[in-house]
């Protein structure tokens, strides 16, 4: 055997957050938060309501500018990079309350996900140049294969998003994010509000995305069953601070975590 297996099998961090602090007025949403995400892993962020989970996600995708700290993606400091540029770099996301473009078809929504990757500019798309048309066709084909078939929504492509059931809307939200061909996917409560069957489907799709596409996943979720089953590592936030991090087993046994969830006496 050559080389040490420990080093060979160890993957690197694709995303790291260091000393992140964010406050709105006098209210601290995040205080000195650290998080590192290994390439190819599924990382969960949990915590009671108002713990700062979505704020952390928004700092990673660029919607919020932290007052202090740094977000590094793929070795590059992206703290000051605008959200649309981060999307182009490969940071994709879905939203807590489905934020699809409601009046549009499923196909248009998903194609918009691929927007950041296209190169022909505004004038050429308006003039329908051959290049723009070729890109359009390739895009369509790629979207068909990589997204619609993969997520089993091919029969929905011409439906208007607003007319779909909630669980399917969440799946379209995931489809749109996948069309970006992200390297890391941020999922904000992917199974919230779903029934058991929809939850199982979504969990399976998330695993497929990670295993078959090699996409790194960071997810926020309240459904502990899903979090414990899916995640390789979990970070726990409480009142804007990261109080624990580790494997599901470590986190489950952590007294700090039990206290945060169940209150003082339980610990």
């Amino acid at each position: 055997m050559t080389g040490s297996p420990g080093v060979e099998g160890e993957s690197r961090d694709i995303l790291s957050v260091e000393g992140l602090s964010l406050s709105f007025g006098g209210l601290a949403a995040l205080a000195d938060v650290n998080l590192s995400v290994r390439e190819g892993s599924i990382t969960g962020i949990i915590g009671p309501n108002g713990a700062g989970k979505t704020s952390l996600l928004n700092c990673i995708s660029g919607f919020y500018r932290p007052q202090r700290g740094r977000v590094t993606f793929d070795g590059k400091d992206v703290t000051r990079v605008a959200p649309d540029r981060r999307a182009a770099l490969g940071i994709g996301r879905t939203f807590q309350n489905v934020a699809l473009f409601e009046g549009m078809s499923v196909l248009d929504n998903v194609k918009l996900g691929a927007h950041a990757r296209l190169r022909s500019g505004i004038l050429s798309t308006m003039a329908f140049t051959p290049r723009a048309r070729r890109e359009e066709l390739e895009l369509r084909e790629q979207v068909e294969n990589e997204v619609f078939d993969f997520l089993e929504i091919e029969h929905l492509r011409h439906r208007t998003v607003g007319s779909l059931a909630y669980g399917l809307q969440k799946r379209v939200d995931l489809a749109r994010a996948l069309a970006m061909r992200p390297r890391i996917l941020l999922l904000d409560e992917p199974v919230a509000g779903m029934n058991e069957e929809e939850t199982e489907d979504m969990a399976r799709f998330i695993l497929d995305v990670q295993e078959e596409r090699g996409v790194t996943i960071v997810l926020i979720e309240h459904d502990m069953g899903v979090v414990m089953d899916l995640c390789d590592r979990i970070a726990v936030l409480s009142f804007g601070e990261r109080i624990a991090a580790g494997t599901p087993d470590e986190v489950r046994r952590d007294p700090e975590v039990i206290r945060a969830y169940l209150g003082e006496e339980a610990a």
């Binding site: 995708s61 919607f63 959200p83 999307a87 934020a99 194609k111 927007h115 798309t125 970006m180």
Partner: protein
């Protein structure tokens, strides 16, 4: 055909023609509102400047009409972009009322600049189209209404199709729908704002030229911008289709009132008032208009 029926048809047809032009003006409002939630009270002044640009191109360099039209549209595109970048963008995130006041101020400034550049005199384009009126069966349509109407319809179709089928148009609709999500999808929403202002200024320029052909050009041409307000409110501030339907409804109502009621009113004019009656009724009954999005505030 009885005389009464011909009269009615005549009124309906000129109503549709007026409506088409209203619809084009209304689109200038809608394009900006959809993308940026700003009601641009300077829309009429963008029209007026576009009309003067074309007039200058035809007069000063003897450009053929089509060339002058395209040049005016291009100049207006730049003007729209500059306005967004220099005036509107620094106000991003300010209260709506401040932004509205700024567009009203902008209107006054544009009007003043036009006075300086072109004086307050009435101008008209050199004759562009064949003079013979158009005969549609028993109905006669003056050529200086018919051809501008065709231009308006073509411009509306172009913008509508662009919104529907080009990728940039789809990105604009997406931004209108959900800015956060669009940003997260990699759409550069600052560029979309800039493009929206420039597209609105372009449609306004075409509208200004159309109105200028029909009624002459002066710094006061922009007044029609406010007259179009009922159309925008009736159709729905954020609906292109609404602008079209609203334009035709108001145009027809106005002409019917002018044809049947005004002759009975010894000097007064219901025609002038009807659009604003519709405006008030719309705001009372259906404030988001026929096709507008009902705003749901979620806190």
């Amino acid at each position: 055909m009885s005389e009464g029926l011909v009269h009615l048809l005549q009124l309906l047809v000129s109503g549709v023609v007026t409506g088409g032009i209203y619809a084009l003006v209304a689109m200038g409002f809608v394009v900006v509102y959809k993308a940026t939630r700003v009601i641009n009270f300077a829309t009429g002044e963008f029209m007026m400047l576009g009309a003067f640009f074309a007039w200058t191109a035809m007069g000063a360099v003897q450009a053929p009409f089509v060339v002058a039209l395209l040049a005016a549209v291009a100049a207006s595109a730049l003007l729209g972009m500059a306005t967004e970048r220099l005036v509107l963008r620094p106000l991003l995130g300010q209260r709506t009322i401040s932004v509205i006041m700024v567009t009203i101020g902008l209107a006054a400034i544009f009007k003043g600049l036009a006075q300086i550049a072109w004086s307050g005199d009435y101008r008209s384009y050199p004759s562009i189209f064949p003079r013979a009126p158009i005969e549609l069966g028993p109905i006669l349509l003056p050529s200086r209404q018919f051809y501008p109407f065709l231009i308006a319809v073509a411009a509306i179709a172009l913008v509508g199709l662009g919104f529907r089928f080009t990728r940039t148009g789809v990105a604009m609709r997406a931004t209108a729908d959900d800015q956060m999500a669009a940003f997260g999808m990699g759409i550069d929403i600052r560029r979309i704002f800039s493009l929206s202002w420039s597209l609105a200024a372009m449609t306004a320029a075409v509208a200004g030229i159309v109105v200028g052909i029909i009624g002459g050009i002066s710094p006061q041409l922009g007044a029609i911008g406010l007259r179009t307000f009922p159309v925008v409110i009736l159709g729905g501030l954020d609906s292109i289709g609404g602008a079209l339907v609203g334009g035709v409804i108001i145009g027809v109502l106005e002409n019917l009132a002018g044809g049947y009621v005004d002759p009975l009113l010894d000097g007064a004019s219901l025609k002038e008032v009807v659009p604003f009656v519709v405006l008030v009724l719309t705001l009372m009954v259906r404030p988001y208009g026929l096709f507008g999005t009902r705003e749901v505030e979620r806190l």
